[in-house]
């Protein structure tokens, strides 16, 4: 008999969580990487609720980022990589939006963005690195100067100083910390006590969650207190970092969720075709996002057959032999 008394104030429906915590113009970080553990259910719900002017901060988001941009929810993005691996070397709606001048963008690298989240998580104002010296990532600024005074936008893209601990001329880049308004995290397990456990690669999810003002967690399963506490070494975040907990099985579809399900190649290819054409993409949104009232309804459209095809082998963590062409 599950006991949710410890998290009763955090357990809520996805519409409630988005309504309560995600405002227009919010700076948002997304869990996962390209085709894995994107918080897709939460993203679809944000689109349905018509959240506008989002400021995305990403290292390498793929599917989630592209749908949000395509749906017109995004005003600006700080990003290292927008792609879906073999399913989209460059995310299609992202590509179009930038080529058409529809969004403001700022390029960083994956390490740079990860370090900026780490700085935000540790509460330090900036963090040094040498990665990027000599590149156009430093020479070319994406954001217009005039927005540098707006909230959540760093006053400078970076600063270069001499390493004060080294006599010789030794340049170091200082990168500004990131503290997003909201982080959307999809994970495998949440305990009855609110403890978060991420299985497989954590990417920069933990740094992002600690850096954020608000953390909304969607999960595959809510497990017993005794299960989650039986090996605390495996856990990723204590409950007090989390503001909302929503149970959404297959909440990352069509991206993968290690040990639960693989990415859905059929859907990613379907998306690939749709995303390259404006009308087809609008149709995609109408059918898969606006056309359904909930993720449960979305999954019914995906279909039991597909879900069983992508079901992961618990040991391997993926669906062996899945046709991924």
């Amino acid at each position: 008999m599950p006991d949710y008394s410890e998290i009763e104030d955090k357990l809520m429906s996805l519409p409630q969580a988005i309504q309560r915590f995600v405002k227009n113009g919010a700076q948002i970080a997304l869990s996962g990487f390209t085709i894995t553990r994107n918080p897709m259910a939460a993203i679809y719900e944000m689109i349905r609720q018509g959240i506008k002017d989002i400021h995305l901060v990403c290292h390498s988001n793929g599917q989630g980022l592209d749908v949000l941009i395509g749906a017109g929810c995004v005003k600006r993005v700080e990003i290292a990589y927008a792609g879906n691996g073999r399913y989209a070397p460059t995310c299609f709606r992202f590509k179009k939006a930038i080529q058409r001048g529809e969004i403001q963008f700022e390029d960083y690298s994956n390490y740079q963005m990860s370090l900026r989240f780490l700085a935000g998580a540790q509460g330090i104002p900036f963090i040094p690195t040498k990665s990027g010296l000599g590149t156009d990532i430093l020479r070319k600024e994406g954001f217009p100067r005039e927005i540098r005074t707006e909230r959540k936008v760093a006053s400078k893209k970076y600063e270069i100083i001499h390493n004060p601990f080294n006599g010789e001329n030794d340049d170091v880049i200082l990168l500004p910390a990131l503290n997003p308004d909201v982080m959307l995290l999809h994970t495998q397990y949440v305990g009855e006590d609110g403890t978060i456990r991420i299985k497989g690669l954590t990417f920069a999810d933990i740094e992002q969650a600690k850096a954020a003002d608000t953390v909304i967690v969607t999960c595959e399963e809510i497990v017993s207190r005794s299960f989650i506490r039986q090996d605390p070494d495996q856990n990723s975040l204590p409950a007090f970092f989390v503001d909302a907990i929503v149970k959404i099985p297959h909440g990352a579809h069509p991206t993968s969720c290690f040990t639960f399900y693989d990415y859905d190649p059929m859907h990613l290819n379907l998306y690939k075709r749709a995303a390259q054409d404006d009308a087809a993409f609008d149709e995609y949104l109408r059918e898969w996002v606006y056309g359904v009232s909930s993720h449960e309804e979305y999954l019914e459209k995906v279909g039991k057959e597909t879900l069983s095809k992508i079901k992961a082998d618990k040991v391997l963590g993926y669906a062996p032999g899945l046709d991924r062409k």
Binding site: G32, F33, T34, I35, T36, S60, G62, A80, Y81, A82, G83, N84, G85, R86, Y87, P89, T90, C91, F94, K95, I98, Q99, G101, D107, Y108, S109, N110, Y111, S114, L115, L118, K130, S131, G132, L133, G134, T135, D136, I137, K140, G142, V172, G200, L201, T202, F203, A204, D205, I206, E207, S256, F258, D262, Y263, A312, L316, G317, Y318, P320, R324
Partner: protein, 258 residues
């Protein structure tokens, strides 16, 4: 242009094997998706059993029984010695203790091996926008050596990059070190025509090898800057073993080999 002759191997197979031949035992190999993942896996199975393949996402030494389609593919987390995250992965990439060899790809490359994976045209309003750096800028800055895969075309081998995403030998000579990098730099560029390397002094690209069926002039004709072919020789053919392992063990589904 290169003569079409019936070959016992494909262009992709030749590129994969040419790149894999650079990997030595105990190298820590940073792999991306596509051909680079094949090359890393092939190297480990053929020449460098003690090399370790890892990914910027934090997956270290996965079994790779199936080819990942992205560096975040669950196959990159399967059977690893450790699953961590980006901060950890990049602490390995740049670690002075290790010889980290990284594979990259790019839309444009210049004669010093600097790379563009960001945009063609004006940065703010590009004619073509690409994915961006991802970890490429970091790899190019921090790894011990970089091997880049390219389609050998004039529009990709250019005098001047539209955007410098990832540092190579910068402006040649010692200019990379003068920027503040103690190590690293491009080792080679592996294309569908051959293998380019960089002069130890000038750091300028030269043709090191051309594939059987290719002549040096083919490479000159498809390179947007002047390139030295005086040190070029014909590549060794892929051996039966190399091809067998690549086809039967590395990518039996031919997801990337096609």
């Amino acid at each position: 242009m290169k003569r079409k002759t019936e070959k016992a191997y494909t262009e992709k197979e030749m590129m994969t094997i040419s790149a894999a031949r650079f990997i030595k035992d105990r190298d820590i190999v940073f792999a991306g998706t596509g051909v680079s993942m094949l090359a890393a896996t092939a190297a480990k199975r053929i020449y460098a059993p003690k090399a370790v393949v890892f990914f910027e996402t934090g997956g270290i030494d996965p079994t790779l029984d199936e080819i990942p389609m992205a560096v975040a593919d669950p196959r990159v987390m399967s059977g690893t010695c450790m699953n961590s995250g980006l901060i950890d992965a990049f602490s390995i990439l740049g670690h002075r203790k290790f010889n980290t060899i990284a594979f990259l790809g790019a839309a444009q490359i210049d004669c010093y091996g600097n790379l563009n994976t960001t945009a063609i045209g004006d940065y703010h309003r590009p004619t073509t926008r690409f994915s961006g750096s991802g970890g490429a800028c970091d790899v190019a800055s921090l790894a011990s050596g970089v091997i880049t895969f390219m389609q050998h075309e004039k529009r990709r081998f250019v005098e001047t990059l539209d955007y410098l995403t990832s540092i190579g030998w910068y402006q040649g000579g010692d200019s990379r070190q003068e920027l503040g990098f103690k190590r690293g730099g491009p080792l080679a560029v592996v294309t569908n025509l051959g293998v380019m390397r960089f002069d130890d002094e000038t750091r300028k690209m030269y043709v090191s090898a051309y594939y059987p069926g290719v002549i040096p002039q083919d490479i000159i004709d498809n390179t947007g800057f002047s390139i030295d072919v005086s040190r070029a020789f014909e590549s060794e053919l892929p051996t039966k073993d190399e091809l067998r392992i690549l086809r039967q063990e590395v990518d039996p589904q031919r997801l990337i080999l096609g």
